[in-house]
Structures are given as structure tokens and as C-alpha cells.
């Protein structure tokens, strides 16, 4: 059998891919598999922990594979401000160093999350009771700020002033909530 990708080399890897419940037979040569990033599937055998697999997933992220760490000046390695974890280090261990990493590596994260969580990238579950309240208000504030910007651009200053006052009231509420949290 000949590789379905390059139609030149003999296909040496045969497997069934299942993506979101859809089956596809794949017959491919090793070289094309590496290029296409199919190799990680072959590491899925027994004895491999989820972190190995994850490191595999990350290694084949297109942008990352092209960027060979050696050829880049050191400054360009993405590093978390908070815990100083670099992206290559994250790839190596498969674990983040702190909450801030989720923000730092945001662009790299979405494709990973999509693969691990079958296409999902955002949370639809529990919201912590106490800090949850202020999260809701903060979201409202962000929405209002957008509206405020629009009003200013359209030079509707009366409306803008009204929105600004509403933002201030909400901000006070959030601050109160935060202080309350610390005291209790």
C-alpha cells in the first residue's frame, strides 16, 4: 500500500482515527505522519501517562515546531511573568506553574484545550459562590465600558455620563465585596 499523503513512499503506519465520533482509516508513511502531526496518536499505547501524551500534543503544534529554540534569541522565548515558567518548560512537564500561565500562554492554549476537551475552550460549570458574585459584576462593567466608548465616539456625552456613573456604582460594589471577603 502506498502512503495516502505523498503517494510515493510505502505506507508503514495504519490506524483508525476517531474525531468527535467520526471514524477515518489512515494509511500513511512515517515521514508524512510526522509532518502531519499524526505521530502523537502512536504514543497512546499503554504505559504512557496523560502528561507524556500532552507533551506530544504540544510538540506538534505547528508554530511551535517551526520555532527551533536554538535559532531564536533568548528574549523571544515566551515566559510567564509570575512564575517564570517558559513555554518549552511547560511542554516538557505538561503542567503549568501558576494561574497566570493560563493568561501568558493563552494563544498556545486554545488548540491544546480543544484537543483534550473535545473542542471546548471555555467553562460552563460551577462558579464559586463568594467570588462568583463580583465576577458577574465585573462582566457587567466590561460590557458597560464598551458602550461608554461607543457613546464617546458618537459624541453622545449625556448618555456617556450616565453610563460612567453606573460603572462607578458597580465598581464600588465590587470593591466592597472584595474587602468583605478579606475580612471574613
Amino acid at each position: 500500500m502506498i502512503c495516502q499523503e505523498c503517494n510515493q513512499r510505502p505506507a508503514t503506519l495504519h490506524f483508525t482515527k476517531i474525531i468527535n465520533g467520526e471514524k477515518a482509516e489512515v494509511h500513511i508513511c512515517e515521514k508524512c505522519a510526522q509532518e502531519k502531526g499524526e505521530m502523537f496518536m502512536l504514543n497512546g499505547g499503554s504505559g504512557f501517562s496523560i502528561n507524556n501524551l500532552l507533551a506530544g500534543l504540544l510538540n506538534i503544534e505547528p508554530g511551535f515546531q517551526q520555532a527551533k529554540p536554538n535559532t531564536l534569541p533568548k528574549k523571544e522565548v515566551l515566559r510567564c511573568k509570575q512564575c517564570k515558567l517558559s513555554f518549552p518548560e511547560f511542554v516538557h512537564v505538561g503542567k503549568f506553574g501558576c494561574a497566570e500561565c493560563y493568561e501568558t500562554f493563552k494563544d498556545q492554549l486554545n488548540p491544546i484545550l480543544k484537543r483534550v476537551h473535545s473542542g471546548n475552550t471555555s467553562h460552563h460549570g460551577k462558579i464559586p459562590k463568594r467570588i462568583g458574585g463580583s465576577i458577574h459584576i465585573r462582566k457587567q462593567i466590561n460590557d458597560l465600558k464598551q458602550t461608554l466608548k461607543q457613546f464617546i465616539e458618537q459624541e453622545e456625552f449625556e448618555n456617556a455620563a450616565e453610563i460612567r456613573d453606573r460603572i462607578r456604582t458597580l465598581e464600588k460594589e465590587v470593591n466592597k465585596g472584595d474587602e468583605g471577603g478579606k475580612q471574613s
Binding site: 471555555s122 467553562h123 460552563h124
Partner: protein
């Protein structure tokens, strides 16, 4: 120590209770991963941060009376003997990772061992609830009570878009892993597991052997759990898993029925041979013990064997592991001696069962 006394101290409540569908579902577990805001995750945190987390949790929970849960005992891993750690791992109260690779690890365990909270494992907190039978919803409710209790005073690392932030991105979102331990001898004997496992995997669920990743299915016991933690609500995750488990239960039941109809005497023979081995063997390895226990448990469920309590499988699968045997023996044992001990332990346990029955006047 007498065996009765040892059992009283060693068994967790889920091993002896009979929850819903407990002929097939041995236990249901829910785990929530949580991290403290403004602290590095356990992979990178400093000693000061680690100790502060332990202190905060100790202050917050050690003497607390959480509704329906009661007091929790606090154990610092570094203060435990190797054998004590092993026993906690064998009971699934702590993970091997916490026992071996977490220098600042600690755990809190409820009196009936239904609830355990691991501190400074891969995440700062891992809240676990373990129930007998198929009770994922109940386990989730209980875990949420503890989660809310802790959150009342502690800020979690939480992001509006990503949910609860965890050290490994495979747990982010709900931080929830729900899993169910199932005894599936019917599906194994009729060779259906090979078809079932890929089908379950397609639904975003994982099937494993009894001791987690990479372990083989000792004693026909399989663990089914969710893989996806992001994008679905906690209730949906638990409901989806429950509905798959219910289908597997139905399939296992019909496999058992088919076996009884087509090969009744062969099955009865198999059950009683295993029963004989357990009652009379002098040397028995873990694997053989697991296989025989599985047969005997099936025999109890199908009514071939009477007067033996159902919980014997749960109990002996846990209590015949190396850590427990050595604890019962009162010191370290070489592997060969363990096999002798294991055989003796199982024989004694069956004797105890007979004694209980004759005292109760149930046996002819």
C-alpha cells in the same frame, strides 16, 4: 490483633455498604481539583508557599464540623511510616503521587473514610468523595458541600472563561473527575470488553483497570471515568457518566443471564473451584486471589453461593494487597511470605463468615 478487630479498623464504609446496583458497581468517586489564588501551583511553589497552604487548610478544616461530614483527621505525609502510606494508597484515600513525590503533602480524612482531601498534590487541593454502589450524584453533592465550605474563606484560582485553574490543562474548567468501579465478569467471560472499551472511549470516557492508568483489570474490575473537564457542567458530566454506566450494567446483566442459560453447570463449576481455592489454598498470589474472588462474587450474585456476604470482594480486593497484609502481620514481609499470609488471611476471613452465620442461626 484479631481478624475481626483488624477488619473493623481497616474497612472503609463504602466497602461494607450496599449502594444502588452494588452487585455490579462497587464504588462511585468524585474528585474536585482546586488551587489557591496568588500561589504558584504545586509543580513550582516554594517551601514557604507550601507550608502556608498546609497551615491555612489546617486552621480552616482541622477542627471544623462540616454538615453531614463531621470531623476530618489531619495527616502530614512526612510524618507517616512507609507502611502507613501504602495502606492509605491501597484504600484509595491518597494517590501514589501524594505518598511518594509530594514533599509537602498532607491529607484530611473523614472518620468513615468517605471523604478525603489531598493537600499539595498535583493541585493544592483535591477533594474526593467515595460512595458505595452507583451514587455519583450523591458524591458530587457531598464534594460540593466541602468545596463551598472551603471557598467561604479561601480565594480559589478561578477564571471566568477557563473556570477552575489547575496545574495540568487536562483538569481545567470543572476540575471534576467522576469515576465508577465496576465488576464485569459476565462481559469478560463473553469476550465483550474488547468491543465495549472502544465504544466507551468514543464518548469521551476512559476505561481502566482497578489501579488506574496502565493497570490491567485484576478480578474483572474496571474503572470508567470522564476525560473532559471543560465546557460541560458538573451535573452534565456526572449524568453522562451515569447513563453510560447504566447501559454497561444492563449489558453485564444480560451477559450473566446468557451465561447461566447456555453454560450453567460450567459456570457453577468455575465458581465452586475458585471458592475451594480461596478456602483451602496455602499460597496465593494477588492475581489468582483476584480471579477467584471475582468468580466467588459472581457466584454470590447468581445465587450459587449463599451465606457469604457480598462485600467480600470489595473488602478482600483491598485488604489482601501487600501494604495491608504487612500491617496485619505487624511488619515487612518478603513477596513469598506475603503469598502465604494472603492465603491465610483469606481462609480466616471465610471462616469468620461461617462463624457469623452459625451464630446468627442462618446456616443449616
Amino acid at each position: 490483633m484479631s481478624l475481626e478487630h483488624f477488619l473493623e479498623n481497616a474497612a472503609s464504609s463504602w466497602m461494607n455498604e450496599e449502594g444502588p446496583d452494588s452487585d455490579i458497581v462497587l464504588s462511585s468517586r468524585v474528585r474536585l481539583a482546586r488551587n489557591f489564588k496568588d500561589f504558584s501551583f504545586s509543580t513550582l511553589f516554594s517551601q514557604e508557599e507550601a507550608l502556608e497552604i498546609i497551615n491555612v487548610i489546617k486552621d480552616r478544616i482541622k477542627n471544623a464540623e462540616i454538615p453531614e461530614i463531621g470531623k476530618l483527621e489531619f495527616l502530614q505525609i512526612e510524618n507517616l511510616q512507609p507502611l502507613e502510606k501504602q495502606v492509605l494508597v491501597e484504600k484509595h484515600l491518597i494517590s501514589p503521587h501524594l505518598a511518594e513525590d509530594s514533599p509537602y503533602g498532607a491529607c484530611l480524612v473523614s472518620e468513615n473514610e468517605e471523604v478525603s482531601i489531598m493537600v499539595n498534590e498535583e493541585d493544592h487541593l483535591r477533594i474526593q468523595c467515595l460512595f458505595s454502589g452507583l451514587q455519583l450524584n450523591e458524591a458530587l453533592l457531598r464534594a460540593n458541600v466541602i468545596d463551598d465550605y472551603i471557598e467561604a474563606n479561601i480565594d480559589y484560582a478561578y477564571d471566568e472563561e477557563r473556570g477552575y485553574l489547575t496545574s495540568c490543562p487536562t483538569n481545567v474548567g470543572t476540575g471534576l473527575r467522576a469515576s465508577v468501579m465496576m465488576h464485569l465478569p459476565g462481559l469478560v467471560l463473553t469476550n465483550q470488553m474488547n468491543h465495549l472499551v472502544p465504544a466507551i472511549n468514543q464518548l469521551g470516557l476512559v476505561v481502566r483497570g482497578i489501579y488506574g492508568e496502565g493497570s490491567e483489570a485484576l478480578g474483572d474490575i474496571f474503572q470508567i471515568s470522564n476525560q473532559i473537564t471543560l465546557g460541560k457542567s458538573e451535573t452534565d458530566i456526572v449524568e453522562d457518566l451515569t447513563s453510560v454506566v447504566q447501559q454497561v450494567i444492563a449489558q453485564e446483566r444480560s451477559a450473566r443471564e446468557a451465561l447461566v442459560q447456555t453454560s450453567n453447570i460450567q459456570l457453577e463449576d468455575r465458581v465452586y473451584r475458585s471458592f475451594g481455592i480461596l478456602q483451602h489454598a496455602r499460597i496465593i498470589e494477588t492475581k489468582e486471589a483476584a480471579r477467584c474472588l471475582s468468580d466467588v462474587r459472581l457466584g454470590i450474585d447468581l445465587g450459587y453461593i449463599k451465606d457469604i456476604s457480598k462485600c467480600i470482594l470489595n473488602e478482600l480486593m483491598i485488604l489482601t494487597q501487600p501494604g495491608f497484609l504487612q500491617k496485619y502481620a505487624g511488619g515487612p514481609l518478603r513477596p513469598h511470605d506475603r503469598d502465604i499470609r494472603r492465603a491465610a488471611f483469606i481462609r480466616e476471613r471465610f471462616e469468620l463468615e461461617k462463624k457469623d452465620n452459625s451464630e446468627g442461626g442462618n446456616t443449616p
